[in-house]
């Protein structure tokens, strides 16, 4: 087991988890910059508390908690930004690196998933957390985590291949 505090090259650890963490944080915050703020705070907090890097569920729980605090703290600004984005239909920073239109459509479909399904999907697909870890991070049962995941996949399938 590798301890993050004793790990000199924290950058390599962070490089591995950062894309997934940012994607996870983007669920609650509008901009990539805000997501980076949230991830930075969570990661540094995690590091300071001497947690093991393998304990990704805890890292995700920290990101989630800080993101929710961020929303509460900055709800007025977030609402204003959300309105501005809706009104002007401005270009929003992509959450994924697309290779083709199918991937673009898939990424857009993910944005329309309900929040509780999207967070499970992000943790499962892009961070390879087990359902037990996801359940621990979100404070739900493993069965609930698994069913949310299946619902998310089904919703994406239906969106991309309408009946």
């Amino acid at each position: 087991m590798q301890n993050l505090v004793s790990h000199e090259d924290w950058k390599s650890c962070f490089s591995e988890v950062a894309p997934g963490l940012l994607l996870f944080a983007r669920q609650w915050v509008q901009s990539a910059a805000d997501a980076e703020d949230v991830v930075q705070e969570a990661f540094v907090k995690f590091w300071r508390r001497n947690h093991k890097i393998e304990n990704r569920a805890l890292l995700y729980a920290a990101v989630r908690s800080i993101a929710l605090d961020f929303i509460r703290r900055d709800s007025r600004r977030a609402r204003r930004e959300a309105t501005a984005v809706r009104d002007t239909d401005e270009f929003s920073e992509p959450q994924f690196e697309f290779e083709d239109d199918t991937q673009r459509a898939l990424a857009e479909a993910i944005d329309f998933l309900p929040c509780e399904q999207r967070e499970v999907l992000v943790m499962k697909i892009w961070n390879e957390l087990t359902f037990a870890e996801i359940a621990g991070a979100l404070g739900i049962s493993q069965n609930t985590a698994a069913s949310r995941y299946r619902y998310a996949l089904a919703a994406l399938r239906n969106t991309l291949q309408p009946q």
Binding site: L22, V39, Q95, L106, L153, L156
Partner: protein, 172 residues
């Protein structure tokens, strides 16, 4: 993409956006800040201890001032110099002053108690109680003043004093 494993496979091909290089720099700075704060392990303890001592010192000084004020008030209500018998040093001086100036009584005109040194002598346990007590030693300089309203003569007595106060410490 008819079944769920197919969509799962498609999702795995999708790569999340990379974090900006600035984020790495920011985290690195935050890590350095953390280390700078965390490395002198004894320092925060010492700081806390000093703050605690300062807090106790200020609280005790406030109590002493309050005590002096209450005592002064009592003296004023009695208007009898003999009531300041707690300070035996003051009595002979007072009697001398009374004899030398007037038959009228002197009345208290002021009292100050300056705490010029506070020393924390650590924790101790009282014989019957399990609760720890913090032993604080205060070195003060007290000044008492009396005035004869008839003649306008005044008398001032100053002397150093030392007091040990035991403050109960509650555990957290």
């Amino acid at each position: 993409m008819n079944d769920l494993s197919q969509i799962e496979k498609e999702l795995r091909k999708l790569r999340p956006a990379r974090p900006s290089p600035i984020l790495f720099e920011r985290i690195e700075e935050a890590m350095i800040d953390c280390r700078a704060v965390a490395s002198p392990a004894i320092k925060p303890e010492r700081l806390r201890y000093n703050r605690l001592s300062l807090g106790f010192g200020l609280a005790a000084a406030a109590v002493l001032v309050l005590f002096a004020a209450v005592k002064m008030e009592r003296q004023e209500s009695g208007k009898e110099i003999a009531q300041t018998s707690r300070e035996p040093e003051a009595a002979p001086l007072l009697n001398r002053a009374q004899k030398s100036t007037s038959t009228d009584k002197f009345v208290p005109a002021g009292a100050t108690r300056l705490v010029y040194n506070t020393r924390d002598e650590g924790l101790q346990f009282a014989s019957r109680s399990g609760q720890p007590l913090r032993r604080m030693r205060y070195q003060t300089h007290e000044t008492w003043q009396w005035r004869n309203p008839t003649t306008g003569a005044s008398l001032r007595v100053s002397y150093p004093s030392e007091e040990v106060v035991l403050i109960p410490v509650s555990g957290q």
